[in-house]
């Protein structure tokens, strides 16, 4: 018994010591003294609605130390994954709007989950107060390296002639990829047979590499490596300009299809923040997103930083909502 006690004490002490070393206790005074936010020693929770290790989580953990420095208090990243982000978003929007709870918000998940009544979300777009957009990760379409289709036009024409003749991966029902396929179908009449890999991009990529699906629909960051190794032939990027990491790949617009789609990620608070708190948070988030080291690390991950302030992020969000509402019937399961 006594041996056990001693052991437990040592274990506890070493754990404490280690977490102490890991925590960033260095508070700086760069935060201006607007009001008394944040209170010394009161930590800010940053809710990530996806599991640790994913793209949303990685981005949040990259900005976390800079936020701590700017705000002069601890910022804790808390993962509440599940239900396509719905659990985490519910937690965020039901928190007090006092600035001590923030969340990473990624579209389409945050935009789409309230649109479909079947999902029973308890929040709408108005429940969030957007503070800043960090990245935009456009959707791409890729085919097998030995595929006969050399251009986007060839591919879409072939599918238009024979609807559902090719399978295309998504990361689940009503995800960004699924919406992108719906947008393509709506504007060009080319209908793919979607295969939903609800586990996420890695499962979709695996199935594509194993040639179990014909077409990979994914984000730029998912295909950078595959494209380099010649394991996928990327045919088009659904963004306004070419992606910096894929300079040789034409945009959809260049191929004659005026379509954009992609994942956008940013940070929001529950609606109703006091103005001075919002201002302070927005400034800190901008600093963190634009921090050169953070931008470089994002770039290493194949992600292009594309900052928008709170107001512009809100407009962007509303625009995405309109796009999605248009094609929503196409991505709802018909009973």
């Amino acid at each position: 018994m006594s041996r056990k006690k001693i052991f437990a004490a040592v274990a506890a002490a070493s754990l404490l010591a280690l977490t102490g070393c890991g925590a960033n206790a260095g508070a700086s005074n760069s935060a201006a003294a607007a009001g008394d936010f944040p209170k010394k020693g009161k930590s800010i929770d940053l809710i990530v609605a996806f599991s640790s290790g994913g793209a949303v989580d990685t981005a949040a953990r990259l900005i976390q130390p800079v936020l701590e420095k700017e705000l002069g208090t601890n910022v804790e990243v808390i993962n509440k994954p599940g239900a396509g982000g719905q659990i985490g978003y519910t937690a965020l929007t039901s928190a007090k709007p006092d600035g001590y709870t923030l969340g990473a918000t990624g579209s389409p998940s945050v935009v789409v989950s309230p649109l479909d009544p079947a999902r029973g979300a308890k929040y709408t777009r108005d429940s969030f107060q957007p503070l800043g957009r960090q990245v935009i990760d456009p959707t791409v379409i890729a085919v097998q390296p030995d595929s006969p289709y050399q251009t986007l036009k060839e591919l879409l024409e072939a599918v238009k002639a024979k609807p559902k003749s090719l399978t295309a991966s998504t990361t689940g029902i009503q995800t960004g990829e699924h919406f992108a396929l719906a947008q393509i179908q709506e504007s060009t009449g080319s209908e793919f047979a979607p295969v939903h890999f609800s586990e996420g991009a890695s499962q979709a990529t695996t199935a594509f590499l194993g040639k179990h699906v014909d077409v990979l629909v994914a984000n730029v960051s998912d295909v950078n490596d595959l494209s380099k190794q010649g394991k996928a032939r990327v045919l088009g990027v659904m963004s306004g300009d070419r992606a910096p990491s894929l300079p040789d790949i034409p945009t959809f617009k260049e191929s004659g299809y005026d379509l954009t789609a992609g994942t956008a990620r940013g940070y929001s608070a529950p609606a109703g923040l006091p103005a001075d708190v919002a201002k302070k948070l927005e400034a800190a988030i901008e600093k963190a997103i634009e921090d050169p080291a953070v931008v470089q690390k994002m770039k290493d991950l194949g992600l292009q930083t594309s900052y928008l302030n709170g107001t512009d992020y809100q407009k962007f969000w509303a625009g995405q909502e309109d796009d999605f509402k248009k094609v929503l019937p196409l991505v709802q399961k018909k009973d």
Binding site: M1, R3, K4, F7, A11, S14, L15, L18, T19, C21, G22, A23, S51, S52, G53, D57, T58, R61, L62, I78, N79, P81, G82, A83, G84, Q86, I87, T90, D116, A118, R119, G120, K122, K164, T167, G172, I173, Q174, A193, P194, H196, S198, E199, S202, Q203, T205, T206, A207, L209, G210, K211, H212, V213, D225, K228, Q229, K297, D300, L301, K333
Partner: protein
């Protein structure tokens, strides 16, 4: 030869005293976290990622891999001693592990688990070094239809897990399937069986269920007037397996390595599938299968070897293709990314020194874990010297903490308590628990792969029989299901298996 040189270079990097210290600390921390029920490898690694962020890339990944190993083993400790699985992949170990503890063989069980883990892990890592690329490509052959066919084989092993009564085993299996259906329907994206409770959107937490069904129900079943079960704290001599136990464990470890390694290569398989199927394999093929469930060493050695072989084999798709094959590996991958390393083939071209140092440290981690845990077996088993009433109270506290820390939600604590009561009811009705755990794990994987397969074939069921690999597997599954019928000469062979 070149590979060997690079590996030796990796060892040189990994053997610096700092990196050895990181590996050691990782093993220790991981073991401690693993001992807490509920905090499995995923949560453990995720919790400790922030600690490693300030280290250099090699050191941080080495430490995380060691944490990953440690959590795996820590989970085994509580499974064996306290009948409370620390994580999903050691759930099935509780059956024979705890039975061994009741017989005073706790030390032997823990030692066998440690040795098995070491063997499984080391062989799988050797596989990673020897033939990473072809093995990684092999994993890709398994598409959704093949995956589904594999699951059919897995479910067919329910036959082997049946105790005296096939009907009761099927009831248990059906219950597991039913529970696994709770959550968002993968086909329509709509919630099903959630009764409007947000917490159920993602289904019932598997670990909370097994902690309840195995651990809590055991405690609840101590009746007031019955003497509490005597759990012997083993003397020093009994800490280590006897010669017979070693001899019997060897084939189980060999089979466990095979099962774990094979399944670990397949993206989307979780370690718990490996340990379950290894247990089912022992039930089916071991010479001493009639003893399984009553404290047979095979029931510990097989699954424990399998889950470590699986954990290490799962790194092969990560290193060769950049694909995280399991949730834990996905967390590790996140750590790689935060260090500016992109896992995949480019890792070996752009950061080959780090890549080989990590692989070397996997070997070292396996050895450290063995060195750390075998001497500690005595310490762990001394827990059993605590008087039963106090021990029971401590276990209860552990279970609550464990269930809470899965998602940091009180809801999971209620789930655990609810399933504790269910487990009690099942025990009283003499319904075996193993089939339920099997279907609970395999159910969602089966449903998902079935759905994906039919989307690929656009509704055509022949997709399962027209592809060679999946056709063979489906045939195998049918063979296993029908095997009791084929044994008409010895009709009692399977049906008279003692209770699982």
């Amino acid at each position: 030869m070149e590979t060997l040189n690079e590996l030796l270079g990796g060892f040189a990097t990994a053997m610096t005293w700092q990196n050895l210290l990181f590996a050691f600390l990782g093993c220790l921390l991981g073991t401690i976290i693993g001992v807490l029920p509920g905090v499995g490898p995923v949560a453990g690694v995720a919790l400790l990622i922030p600690l490693t962020l300030n280290l250099d890339p090699a050191g941080s990944i080495i430490m995380l891999c060691a944490i990953f190993y440690g959590t795996q083993y820590g989970g085994t400790i509580t499974s064996v001693l306290l009948n409370t699985p620390g994580e999903a992949s050691s759930a099935i170990t509780t059956i024979d592990g705890y039975a061994m503890t009741k017989m005073g063989r706790a030390g032997a069980a823990l030692t066998l688990a440690a040795v098995g883990s070491f063997i499984g892990g080391t062989i799988a890592t050797a596989g990673l070094v020897a033939a990473a690329r072809p093995l990684g490509e092999m994993g890709l052959l398994v598409g959704p239809p093949e995956f589904f066919a594999l699951m059919v084989v897995g479910i067919s092993l329910l036959v082997a897990l049946a105790g005296k009564s096939m009907v009761k085993a099927l009831v248990s299996g059906a219950l597991g399937l039913l529970i696994s259906m709770v959550g968002i329907d993968p086909v329509a994206g709509a919630p099903r069986f959630t009764f409007g409770i947000d917490n159920l959107m993602d289904g019932v937490s598997f670990v909370a269920v097994i902690v309840g069904v195995f651990g809590l129900s055991e405690i609840l079943s101590f009746r007031r007037n019955e003497p509490t079960p005597v759990v012997h704290a083993p003397g020093f001599r009994q800490l280590f397996p006897s010669r017979t136990e070693w001899r019997r464990s060897a084939p189980a470890m060999a089979r466990g390595t095979g099962v774990g390694f094979g399944l670990g290569l397949i993206p989307g398989m979780t370690g718990s599938v490996s340990s379950l199927l290894s247990y089912a394999t022992e039930k089916r093929f071991s010479r001493f299968r009639h003893e399984l469930g009553k404290g047979a060493v095979e029931g510990v050695a097989g699954p424990e070897t399998a889950n470590n072989a699986h954990a290490n084999a799962a790194l092969i798709p990560l290193f060769t293709l950049g694909i995280p094959a399991s949730p834990t590996i996905a967390v590790l991958m996140g750590a790689f990314l935060q260090q500016g390393l992109t896992p995949g083939p480019s890792l070996f071209t752009e950061h080959s020194e780090i890549a080989w140092a990590i692989i070397a440290s996997l070997f070292i981690g396996n050895v450290l874990l063995l060195l750390l845990n075998v001497p500690l077996v005595g310490l762990w088993t001394s827990i059993l010297r605590v008087p039963t009433p106090i021990l029971t109270a401590v276990i209860l506290v552990f279970m609550v903490i464990g269930a809470y820390t899965i998602n940091f939600s009180v809801f999971d604590v209620y789930v655990m308590i609810g399933f504790g009561l269910l487990g009690l009811a099942l025990r009283n009705l003499d319904i075996p628990l193993a089939p339920m755990v099997l279907t609970l794990v395999l159910g969602p994987l089966m449903e998902r792969s079935l759905r994906e397969s039919l989307e690929i074939s656009q509704g055509d069921f022949t997709v399962f029989t027209s592809r060679p690999i999946s056709a063979v597997l489906i045939g195998l599954g049918l063979l296993i299901i029908c095997s009791p019928l084929l044994k008409l000469r010895k009709p009692k062979a399977l049906m008279e298996d003692p209770e699982a």
